[in-house]
Symmetry: C2
Subunit: 280 residues, 2 copies
């Protein structure tokens, strides 16, 4: 069986079953002393196109998508490690711009590695501390489902052949982490990520699509793109964040638009869910 | 200026000067509470060829080269995070073999990410705790220069179109870290890595090549290849490890074979030091 057939979740389930990896589908790993660690990679022509972004924006993005995982863990970030793989003909000034962007969120780059590579490859580890990590498995029937901002910007930008600038919801993440029963960031698409939450928590997630604030230029179809990096939380107290639905007894995700059931697509990392020409 | 002209050290110096990265040439970053973190990437056809290795050996290698950085920091490893980028047509069984290898050193994989990629790409973060990190800057005139094992195996294997299995010197690293003034692992070649130690410590490193134990099948030329992952330490007490030279007043590296000066090459990450057809 190939990865495209097994899918990312199939691979992760098999690794877990064999004891070869623990909870790598989580946003971040928890170690002793409140330490929270996460790692994400951006690969040229898989996660980004250089024609669609500046090096500075790319650096910011690499930091932001990792900090988003810390935000979903309610963590205060401490440090980034950055491994840069770059072709030898890359301009030094471009690489310096890239590191400017990596430093933009204000979390110091304290380590990493540099190496030659055929395509630009960025792997970032973000470390932080959290007093309470909500995780994905604690959502309960009756919880409000909230998001920290408008969705669909990444999908809309993709249609215009550019990359959206991801938000960094660290402060929102810390506020929600104090009370939320479950939280994650929306990277694979609203329906897919809500599905992760429902499956891990053993409940049903009901979403009222008319309550989801769309980003400028975005349509409902853009919600399936993912990469919005807003936080999605199941919480007994909405804390003033936008409520887009609730948790109920049952399983799976039920999405309705003005009462009518709607199907949203989502992202599959090994190409099972979309055409092979798509980015990511 | 291109990366191939600036070189890895030129890039790192410029990043440091602009405050965009701190000490990313070190083996590992030190955070609070004795936490030591390191990150390294292995990219297909840059760091390895699939024709020269099994997936299991590749996984072991990815873990081992990161654990080597923890060993050079005198750390007890706690966890690995692994980001795997793989083509969609990769066989699931091969990926499972890869994770078997990653788990072989006995340090749990607690997080990471999986993604599609054009070429197999492995980025590993290793976390551990150390009571005392010798670093690279404390070597003093009079220190003995010791290595933890024979050198040249990686270069000899490369000539035979295969990859050598790296050693994991965690126990040796912890013993040396208690007393050594400076320590690193030999990844860029004996001369280059000794040069790092000399430059950072502000001393001269003198090596007597006839004291360097060569791995089976290795020649003196193979010492320039690097990737041996033995530890090199400047220490007031050799603790029974092989003494290959000493630190003295001055600067630079002086290598002699039976009293005669010898020049050894070393590795440059952006292709400045070797032919473009070379691996890594």
């Amino acid at each position: 069986m190939r990865l495209s057939e097994a899918g990312e979740l199939g691979l992760l389930a098999e690794l877990e079953r064999r004891g070869l990896a623990r909870r790598i589908e989580d946003d971040a790993a928890q170690l002793g002393g409140g330490l929270v660690v996460t790692q994400d990679a951006l690969i040229e022509d898989v996660h980004f196109r250089l024609a669609w972004t500046s090096y500075r924006e790319l650096g910011f993005r690499a930091a932001a998508v990792n900090l988003s995982d810390l935000a979903a863990s309610g963590a205060e970030p401490e440090a980034l490690l950055v491994t840069l793989g770059a072709p030898a003909e890359t301009e030094l000034d471009d690489v310096l711009e890239l590191y400017e962007g990596l430093n933009e969120p204000g979390v110091p780059v304290v380590g990493g590695d540099t190496t030659g590579a055929q395509l630009l490859t960025l792997s970032v580890t973000a470390l932080g501390r959290s007093e309470r990590v909500p995780g994905r498995s604690g959502a309960r029937p009756g919880d409000a489902l909230v998001v920290t901002g408008p969705l669909g910007a990444a999908g809309a930008a993709f249609r215009q052949e550019r990359h959206a600038r991801p938000p960094v919801r660290l402060e929102e993440g810390r506020r929600l982490a104090a009370v939320a029963h479950a939280m994650l960031d929306i990277s694979d698409g609203l329906a897919v990520d809500a599905g992760h939450l429902a499956a891990r928590s053993g409940c049903k997630v009901e979403i009222e699509l008319e309550r989801v604030l769309l980003a400028e230029g975005a349509t409902v179809e853009d919600l399936g793109f993912g990469e919005d990096y807003e936080l999605l939380a199941a919480t007994p107290d909405a804390l003033g964040f936008a409520e887009i639905g609730r948790c109920a007894e049952g399983s799976g995700v039920e999405i309705r638009l003005r009462g009518e059931p709607v199907a949203l697509t989502g992202w599959e990392h090994f190409g099972g869910g979309r055409g092979a020409g798509d980015l990511r």
